[in-house]
């Protein structure tokens, strides 16, 4: 089968064109971006996907695990929940399962590359230039402070009612605290945490309150991964 992107392609042996889509190397991407899409127009149906992903998220897609040899994308377009669950380090991450869930917002079992990159894009570092140059009319980039916080907030807010209830807080605490802590202590901690952030007295933490309770924190730095640039 002919290589989709000419000499620099890597996934020449893949059996389906969809596999090609996600097995692009960095050079492939560059060649796509540098060429005026002229000679490649026949593949436009495939490429814009990646291209627009890159524009939207700013991720260097080709660096992601997805595209690595033996990565999920090597076999098919979508990653299943199981693929993520197979990552060993996630099993020892107390929030691992919730983070996996966040890749499957609608409870589905599959995530395509666009969705995958979009989630990861939350963790791009904030570039100072980006902030200066940004068009105020455009929607906030995914890696803005608010969006970073919203990502975290959604990990807490399981029932998606826009509030972290005491119950939800307790669940997260249970995940994150060692077994030495008794249930009672946990409950009191959860109570206290909610109380501390709760300003309108409804016994739950809204996103606004959540943001406020963390206003002193350097979220831009704490929620960024340098290498996701």
């Amino acid at each position: 089968m002919r290589n989709v992107l000419g000499p620099s392609g890597i996934g020449t042996k893949a059996s389906s064109s969809s596999a090609h889509l996600l097995s692009l190397s960095q050079r492939d991407l560059d060649s796509v971006h540098s060429s005026a899409m002229g000679s490649l127009s026949s593949h436009a149906a495939i490429i814009p996907d990646l291209d627009s992903i890159r524009r939207e998220t700013g991720c260097e897609c080709a660096r992601l695990r997805w595209l690595e040899p033996g990565g999920w994308g090597r076999r098919r377009c979508n990653a299943a929940r199981m693929d993520l669950q197979r990552i060993g380090a996630l099993a020892v991450n107390p929030l691992g399962d919730r983070i996996i869930e966040s890749f499957f917002p609608d409870g589905g079992q599959q995530v395509d590359f666009a969705g995958f990159a979009r989630v990861l894009a939350h963790f791009r570092p904030v570039d100072d230039e980006d902030i200066g140059n940004r068009d105020p009319k455009q929607p906030e980039p995914l890696n803005s402070r608010t969006n970073k916080l919203r990502f975290a907030f959604q990990l807490y807010d399981l029932d998606r009612d826009g509030k972290i209830s005491r119950r939800e807080m307790l669940q997260v605490l249970r995940l994150m605290v060692g077994v030495q802590v008794t249930e009672e202590q946990l409950e009191s901690i959860a109570d206290r945490t909610v109380q501390e952030a709760d300003e309108d007295g409804d016994g739950a933490v809204s996103f606004l309150e959540f943001t406020k309770s963390l206003e002193k924190m350097n979220i831009e730095q704490k929620m960024s991964i340098r290498i996701l640039k």
């Binding site: 197979r86 991450n93 994150m176 979220i219």
Partner: protein, 812 residues
């Protein structure tokens, strides 16, 4: 006090440096030294250790040097002879090997090999650059006449440059240990200091022989020889280390019946690698480093747990002791008027040149490296790297080795080296910590963060680690996959015990250890709870202090938790805050809460992994935590999986397939390799058994899976109990003191014997599941992969996707 013991021990040693076995000698002399411990120095040392204010500002190595200076002064005042000096023999043969072996054996392999290219560049090019520029610049200044009259030539300067150029592993470790920089930065500086030994040795030897020959007689052939000898020395040393590591692993494979001397082999054979390569004039440091790096995996798998602990502690102890001794001796050795020759220009310029050229070298090399590195080394990193170029005892020992006959200005070199060492260790060691703190993000005020910040901050850390893992940005390369395949197919077969090979199946391994840990934790928890009950307020005492024989109905549990919630301060685990109960309740509550969070929040990966520590064996705590989390995660996944699949997989086809597989299994069961894992699988994977039987997660736990099987296994039961918690993931922590496993196992009836049960598992499920390892295969996601990659950290994801294809390459 014990440390001082090792401190003062060698004082008696070097006195008789010619004694055949100083180590033995020292041990023999330890008991009589004990009275010395109450001496002023002893108490001084104690103060150092006790006063955190001092040690948090001044690095230990600097304190030790100062202490050495004081001791040396006392000795000098008494004797007027420098009786004790650090001789190169003692240093190279007895003090250095333990430190380097320790560094190699506990090397975070993945990090090390991941940055090997960078490390090598700094170690080889960087050291050569430092040596050449420092030597040449000093020579240039000498020609200008600034240093006055010296009997010195170009080659002498180059010789001096080569011995002063190398960053010293001992000093780097001692200082960086206390400065907590990120692990990449640490491994680069540390790795460089270890690997540059080969370069130093070669440069030193080459220039020394050149000096001996005289500058007129050096030919081009000699230079070529020097370059060739670099490769011989470095690669030869590495090879020797690998060969001995192979030997060591092989030996430990067959020490099953001589457990008691197992740890001895580790030390003796590694030391042999050092001596051998020293004998062959190869790089001994490289040899012992690689011996440690290569053998760690196999040795740990082969030797018994006790032996492993012994090895760990002995190694750390020896290394700590050796390090202490080295720095003390550096101080003591400096008190000797005979070696001091002062030349202001020479000393000052050396200091300036080594700092400046180090910085320039780092910047240049980093500029090149950053074009290839995924993790960029930023300006801050470069500053720390240049500033962390500490010189130490290696340089000193090398300079003392010089021959006064050949190098006329030996004493000038010696005193300059001492000054350089002292300057880098004391001054840079002192200032690097503030520098690191200052360069890093400005720290917010030192207030106790609010509860929300603390909790969410920790959550963010976990999120970041998870995202890093998912995006797979770190590590993972093709070579590692290839290597792990090779390792699994050949090396492990040769070097590991049969039993170790078998238990290498990741999941089984993890589960086995998990179960063991569970059992231990239960006992500990029970004991702890017994005592805890006394602390609690009398009103709740009766209810909380459950004795182990009666199971507690959940109604009571609820009421207890309710009661306890009413008076939180009474439930505090912390003795200190208990004493302050008289304070206002509000204060105490806050304190308790903060304290609890501080202590028990799981630490995210970045904080604890990959850090080499001379003085700590941190891994245990983390492993425990990992397993705890892993355990919970697996349980949750099993539950969600069960709820998703139970309805689906009931069809006949699956059952047929499953039966066929079982038959296959039975046929294969005579093959030991096929049988054993499945057997242990049945025991150590009780989660699966049990969860599949449980149709309704809320119902009472089902304990007789094992009992009907006839094989009641405590460990299995323990896990089962924990697995019985509610499926939503919000259940009580696994070992929560409010759960009492032992009685409940015996007391609670199996679910299908309960009259009020909602869903009864199918007949087949009841009968077959407990016996069948095969049913795990039917359920695709729980396919056990015996071929999971070696590079995966212990708790590799146990689920395998249903689809075929290469499965072992995607981790990490």
């Amino acid at each position: 006090m014990g440390r001082l013991c090792t401190l003062l021990g060698p004082l008696s040693v070097s006195h008789g440096a010619a004694s055949p076995s100083p180590i033995l000698f020292r041990e023999l002399y330890l008991p009589p030294m004990h009275p010395l411990l109450s001496s002023p120095q002893g108490s001084l040392w104690k103060i150092f250790h006790l006063s955190h204010k001092v040690t948090s500002v001044v690095p230990e190595s600097a304190l030790l040097i100062v202490l050495g200076l004081v001791l040396g002064g006392i000795v000098w005042a008494a004797d007027h002879i420098a009786s004790f000096t650090l001789t190169p023999t003692v240093f190279f043969f007895y003090l250095l090997p333990p430190i380097v072996l320790d560094a190699g054996y506990f090397m975070p392999n993945r990090l090390f090999f991941g940055n090997l290219g960078t490390i090598l560049l700094y170690a080889v090019i960087g050291t050569i650059w430092n040596a050449a520029t420092t030597g040449l610049s000093l020579y240039g200044v000498f020609l200008s006449g600034l240093m006055g009259e010296l009997q010195i030539g170009l080659l002498d300067f180059l010789l001096f440059g080569s011995l002063i150029a190398a960053v010293d592993p001992v000093a780097v470790l001692a200082v960086f240990e206390e400065v907590h920089v990120n692990e990449v930065l640490f491994i680069i500086v540390f790795g460089e200091s270890l690997l540059n030994d080969a370069v130093t040795v070669v440069l030193y030897n080459v220039f020394e022989s050149f000096v001996t020959l005289g500058s007129d007689n050096v030919t081009g052939v000699d230079c070529v020889k020097g370059i060739v000898s670099f490769f011989v020395v470095s690669l030869g040393g590495t090879l020797v280390g690998i060969v001995f590591a192979f030997l060591l692993s092989l030996v430990t494979r067959f020490t099953k019946h001589v457990r008691i001397i197992e740890p001895g082999f580790v030390f003796v054979i590694s030391y042999l690698s050092y001596l051998t390569s020293e004998m062959l004039s190869l790089s001994a440091i490289l040899a012992i480093t690689f011996c440690g790096i290569c053998c760690q995996k196999y040795v740990t798998a082969n030797i018994s747990e006790q032996s492993a602990t012994t090895v760990r502690y002995t190694m750390k102890m020896l290394a700590s002791g050796a390090e202490t001794i080295i720095f003390m001796f550096l101080g003591i050795s400096a008190v000797d008027p005979l070696i001091w020759t002062w030349n202001t220009a020479f000393v000052l310029l050396t200091l300036v040149f080594i700092s400046v050229y180090r910085a320039i070298g780092v910047v240049l090399q980093t500029w090149i490296l950053n074009r290839y590195r995924m993790v960029q080394l930023e300006i801050i990193d470069q500053v720390v790297m240049s500033y962390g170029g500490l010189r130490g005892a290696v340089a000193y020992a090398l300079v003392v080795l010089l021959d006064q006959e050949k190098v006329k200005e030996k004493n000038l070199f010696v005193s300059t080296t001492i000054i350089v060492v002292f300057f880098t260790v004391i001054f840079q060691g002192l200032t690097i910590k503030p520098l690191v703190q200052w360069l890093k993000v400005k720290r917010s005020e030192q207030r106790e963060p609010r509860l929300n910040e603390k909790l969410h901050g920790r959550a963010f850390d976990h999120i970041l680690s998870a995202i890093e893992d998912i995006s797979g940005q770190i590590g993972h390369n093709y070579l590692r996959d290839k290597w792990s395949n090779f390792d699994r197919k050949f090396l492990s077969k040769i070097l590991m015990r049969r039993s170790a090979q078998k238990s290498r199946d990741r999941i089984l391994n993890v589960f086995h250890e998990l179960n063991l840990k569970d059992a231990i934790s239960y006992v500990a928890e029970g004991e702890r709870r017994g005592s805890l009950a006394f602390i609690r307020s009398p009103s709740t005492d009766n209810m909380v202090n459950v004795d182990f024989s009666t199971p507690r109905p959940s109604v009571v549990e609820a009421s207890v938790s309710y009661l306890l919630r009413e008076n939180v301060s009474a439930v505090c685990l912390d003795m200190q805050s208990l004493q302050q109960r008289r304070r206002s309740i509000r204060d105490t509550e806050d304190m308790v809460t903060h304290h609890t969070l501080q202590q028990y929040l799981y630490k995210p990966r970045q904080e604890y992994k990959y850090l080499y520590s001379r003085h700590g064996l941190a891994a245990n705590e983390d492993e425990k935590q990992d397993k705890e989390i892993f355990h919970r995660t697996m349980r949750k996944r099993l539950e969600s999986f069960k709820s998703a699949k139970l309805g689906v997989n009931q069809n006949k086809k699956a059952a047929k397939l499953y039966r066929r597989e079982r038959a296959q299994k039975r046929r294969n069961s005579s093959i030991p390799n096929g049988k054993l894992p499945t057997e242990s699988l049945a025991h150590s994977f009780p989660l699966g058994d049990k969860d599949l039987e449980l149709s309704d997660p809320e119902e009472a736990p089902n304990y007789d899976a094992e009992e009907t099987n006839g094989g009641i296994e405590f460990l299995a039961n323990v896990t089962k109990d924990t697995a019985s918690d509610s499926p939503t993931g919000i259940d009580n922590p696994v070992f929560s003191p409010d759960e009492d496993p032992t009685p409940s196992i015996l007391a609670r009836a199996p679910p299908w014997l309960c009259p009020g049960e909602a869903v009864v598992p199918s007949q087949r499920a009841r009968v077959q599941i407990p016996h069948s390892p095969g049913h795990l295969r039917r359920l695709a996601p729980f396919r056990l992969s015996s071929s999971s990659a070696d590079s995966v950290p212990p708790p590799a994801g146990p689920e395998e996707p249903p689809q075929p294809g290469p499965r072992d390459s995607t981790h990490m």
